[in-house]
């Protein structure tokens, strides 16, 4: 099993954290993992993204040409990564910030009102958690909710750990959203 996941969004949307969470959770399950941020522009103002590879085998390169999963938290990210998703791959996208639905029909596309859900839970910064929650449901063999819970404690600095329960709550909302979508399909 190898999943090549790109998580992309604005700077403040916590895409790096989301990637780390996945990695630590998968690592604790004994899987091989790699995580690399895009540092492709020693410059400002663009999108932020990270590439996460989770695999039962050694990982050759952390760089992902054609992702199996893309999580696009904003419009520019969608524009950038949509064309790269592999045939039959998965796209999770933030409908709160992306007005027009993606144009490819050769992949599994899951819209989430991620920012809206986050805001509804009293923060604007947890769209990433919604998406991770959804991913957990959509790729059930990747990592469990339990391991993500443990990973949250490991990855989040002690100063911010107080938000972990909120994060988990938002995560499960994402999970349930995905559940519903899957059920409806």
């Amino acid at each position: 099993m190898t999943e090549e996941i790109v998580i992309a969004g604005f700077g403040g949307q916590g895409v790096l954290l989301a990637g780390k969470l996945l990695c630590v959770a998968a690592m604790r399950r004994g899987l091989q993992v790699s995580h690399i941020p895009s540092y492709g522009a020693e410059m400002r103002g663009g999108t932020a993204n990270c590439s996460v590879v989770i695999s039962t085998e050694d990982i050759p390169s952390p760089v992902i040409e054609c992702p199996s999963v893309v999580i696009a938290l904003n419009g520019p990210s969608l524009v950038k990564f949509l064309p790269r998703i592999r045939l039959g791959g998965m796209l999770i996208w933030n409908r709160s910030l992306i007005a027009i639905a993606p144009s490819r029909s050769d992949l599994f596309s899951f819209p989430l009102d991620a920012t809206d859900i986050s805001l509804a839970n009293g923060t604007e910064r947890a769209a990433n958690m919604v998406a991770i929650g959804a991913l957990l449901r959509l790729k059930p063999n990747l990592v469990s909710m339990k391991s993500i819970e443990a990973a949250l404690d490991e990855v989040i600095s002690s100063r911010n750990r107080k938000y972990n329960s909120l994060n988990l709550r938002i995560l499960s909302v994402g999970y349930e959203m995905a559940e519903k979508i899957v059920a409806n399909k």
């Binding site: 780390k20 990695c23 604790r28 004994g30 993992v33 690399i36 522009a41 050759p60 040409e65």
Partner: protein, 359 residues
């Protein structure tokens, strides 16, 4: 995986330097190694060590010179253009036989180039971009675990041979996070009676690369260095031979490029192609005899680099005509692809079969 931590390559390296007892780190910011100074800024404050953000790379390497001369373990890190600026200082350190650890997290060049990972400084690292006949040991880790482990080794090698040791990494290895087990302090101690700590109670020490009098002094010094380099060449030869035993084709690669090559070997082996990966872990000294042995047995050697023909010179020098040497390289931040490597090796087999049929 279970007892491991997930760390960015740059941070794994930094933490390993602390484990090795380095408390004097000097550097100037540059992408893609910025995590090292940022990490050190925090940790040195905790440990009571010294981190100075130098005014330039020239100043940083000179601070390393001062600290090393004082007898402490010291390190600097940079990336390609910054490393170019350190060349004079490295030549001085080598000439004055001062131990230290240097880190180059390579990015694409030439010039300002770009900041994606690259292996374009292989020549600079292995041949020395500074002036004169000198060498630095060059280690080439290939994952976060090796980044940490080789860093501890680097400090030991530096002290043992009184030589700068360069850890050559590309930006991808520096930037990516992977699981690793942090090394334990090994407790090795090195006597540094040559350090300049004041002459109280002993005859005075002088540390310099200058040799003016008599006329032959500089040649004598160079021959002494050369002896040391030969000793190192005998004693420090690190290589990872992966499925090379019965190989018909051999791939040579290091660092991030070698990770892809290794995968290619696995894939090809599954398909029945007898291919191996020769991964030098020390780039200087280069494990040339070891490679030459394999070269005698194989039909062709493929060099895979993230540069446009640098590693291949050491490969050719090692192979010395015993086998054909082919080249596949990417530049400016691109990573070799699995398909390209597999395709290339496959094409040999194909050619070969054609050849066999024709004969």
């Amino acid at each position: 995986m279970l007892g491991k931590v997930l760390m960015k390559g740059n941070e794994a390296l930094a933490e390993a330097a602390l484990i090795a007892g380095c408390r004097h780190y000097f550097a100037y910011p540059i992408t893609p190694q910025n995590e090292i100074p940022v990490y050190m800024a925090r940790r040195m404050a905790e440990l009571g060590g010294t981190f100075i953000q130098a005014e330039s790379e020239l100043a940083a390497i000179s601070m390393v010179m001062g600290a090393s001369a004082g007898g402490v373990r010291t390190m600097t890190s940079s990336s390609s253009p910054g490393m170019a600026l350190k060349q004079e200082g490295i030549s001085y350190l080598a000439g004055a036989e001062l131990p230290c650890v240097l880190v180059n997290v390579m990015r694409g060049g030439p010039g300002l180039g770009g900041i994606a990972g690259s292996q374009g400084d292989y020549f600079q690292a292995t041949r020395g971009g500074g002036n004169g006949d000198y060498r630095t040991i060059v280690l080439a880790p290939g994952n976060a675990q090796e980044l940490a482990d080789f860093t501890v080794d680097a400090f030991d090698l530096a002290d043992e041979y009184r030589i700068p040791v360069l850890i050559l990494v590309d930006g991808y290895l520096g930037q990516m996070s992977e699981p690793l087990t942090l090394p334990k302090p090994n407790g090795k101690k090195f006597e540094k009676s040559w350090a300049v700590r004041g002459s109280e109670g002993k005859s005075k020490n002088i540390i310099a690369s200058l040799r003016l009098v008599p006329d032959s002094a500089l040649e004598v010094h160079n021959l002494h260095l050369q002896d040391k380099y030969e000793k190192i060449t005998e004693e420090v030869r690190h290589v990872d031979e992966y499925r090379c035993e019965d190989a018909e084709w051999l791939i040579v690669a290091y660092g991030a490029a070698a990770r892809v090559a290794r995968k290619a070997v696995d894939s090809l082996r599954t398909g029945g192609t007898r291919v191996g990966l020769f991964r030098p872990l020390s780039l200087w000294p280069f494990p040339d005899r070891e490679l030459n042995e394999f070269a005698k047995e194989v039909e062709k050697v493929l060099t895979v680099e993230m540069s446009l023909g640098q590693l291949i010179e050491d490969v050719k020098l090692s192979v010395n005509g015993e086998a054909e040497v082919d080249f596949y390289g990417r530049a400016g931040g691109a990573v070799p692809t699995l398909d390209d490597i597999i395709g290339r090796i496959y094409s040999y087999e194909h050619q070969d079969h054609t050849h066999v049929q024709a004969s």
